[in-house]
Symmetry: C2
Subunit: 320 residues, 2 copies
Amino acid sequence: MAKGNAPSRAVAIDLGGTRFRVAVGTDEGLLEWRVSRATEVEQGRGAVLERIFATVDEALATVSNRATIQGIGIGAPGPLDPWTGVVFNPPNLPGWDDTPLKVLFESRFGLRTTVNNDANLAAVGEHRYGAGRGFAHLVYVTVSTGIGGGVIVDNQLLLGQCGFAGEVGHMTIDMDGPPCPCGNVGCLETLASGTAIARQARQFVAAGAETSLAQLSLQEITGKSVSQAADEGDALARRILHEAGVALGVGMVNISHLFNPQLVILGGGVSNSGEVLWEPMRQTLRTRALTACQRGLEIVPAALGDDAGIFGALATVIPT
Amino acid sequence: MAKGNAPSRAVAIDLGGTRFRVAVGTDEGLLEWRVSRATEVEQGRGAVLERIFATVDEALATVSNRATIQGIGIGAPGPLDPWTGVVFNPPNLPGWDDTPLKVLFESRFGLRTTVNNDANLAAVGEHRYGAGRGFAHLVYVTVSTGIGGGVIVDNQLLLGQCGFAGEVGHMTIDMDGPPCPCGNVGCLETLASGTAIARQARQFVAAGAETSLAQLSLQEITGKSVSQAADEGDALARRILHEAGVALGVGMVNISHLFNPQLVILGGGVSNSGEVLWEPMRQTLRTRALTACQRGLEIVPAALGDDAGIFGALATVIPT
């Protein structure tokens, strides 16, 4: 540790339904310590919290100068209240209704704690430490099982009245489209998420379409297997990813018209599908968006992968 | 004028393709003087500007204490640059390409001048002086010939990187929908604007549908005549307005998911169509939007009518 010029540090927690991750990071974005553990939701909230607390104790024990620790940043599945730090009723954490995470961590550790929705935090992470460094206006979109996101306006996370802004996956782009589990129809998520891609592939396979995916059982067909089949030249898989790319492009059109950002950062597993997805997305943006709104706008891949949320948690605790 | 406690004043200009309006207003939103004149675009930019300059001279002559005048606020058709005050190529002002309005007015009058897009200014006007007073997060939507809007985030107008944010009329809600003059397809504007309502009515009449609108020539059918026919109970007119209301409701769903505002303010001529439009709009929002995002959200009618832009121009010059 540099004498007289000790870095600021924070403990960052990414709490997911399958795994939780804890890290110690510096203001410069150096992760000095990190661990990833199974959440084991089935053990119940109390037991999970105790294991996270114990992991934070481990994390704190690695820091010799405790005075450098500015606080704890937590990313959790929404919906949640980023001001009070209460998690409402996250579908990925059954039984966690109305959990006051901020208060629980502050009273246990005596450290200021921030709690934010994980997709929003990933936006903050990419803005501070990743693909969005230096851009004041950006939108982050993550396409995996679902589609989530976060919006940075004038270098600030857009929260809206209750902290629910930036739900880009649930923007309607086809008002008569397929139903979404959220209750809406034709959400971007129903047309371009990994789940949507897999659903379409299963429908084609079930209908007897000619495709290498037919070798798999319907349950084995995932967004990833469609992406692999496309890589290997399967025409149906390529067509499905092309359509998902067009839908994402329509999402980008709306993002450009509503937020007029400099940058859209695309992350999540599906975003790794390559040009078969990216080309129709970019082409749709180019041909459909208002010229004024696409001027200076770039779509770039996310830089931080699964760590974006951890870096965002750091950023919410350590001011620039 | 109150001695020793003179109000702040500004000259507000609303520059439209058909009429321009000039007013003198106070920081409290009192319009002390106002006039509306034909723009007469066909006379050319130089002549129109000279007439506006002369009208501003008239306006200034009505103020005995010139020191109370903080500046000139201009609302103009976009696209424009709100920082440099240059109007690019407004379709409503042919021949006005790259007009440096801010510089022209500042050098002519020696008064600080702001230039903003008219729909954005209407949002600012409703926020400061109208239906949005006291709300930090709101979206203003105006539905007339086209659909425009503006977004207030944390009491600030959302501009984005180039000042083009808030183009709510060009959000895609039907990715395979009808073409929009903007180059996109299925924009909210193609489904719910006065132009879209009239277009649909004409199509039905041309196809021989039974409706009181059939008494009009196709050219006589406007958004207003459809609204009147609906008022008088015409079933087809009511159905067209119902569908426009559903489309507006889908727009509200997207606004609630992306901006999570407390308030949406609906203005413009079409918004006066009453419950036949408002009921399906509210119903669509209720049934389709994420519960979290519609909590605390209200849709209310605009309060300032055609003056919203004038009030917005005032607000950009006179700080709160």
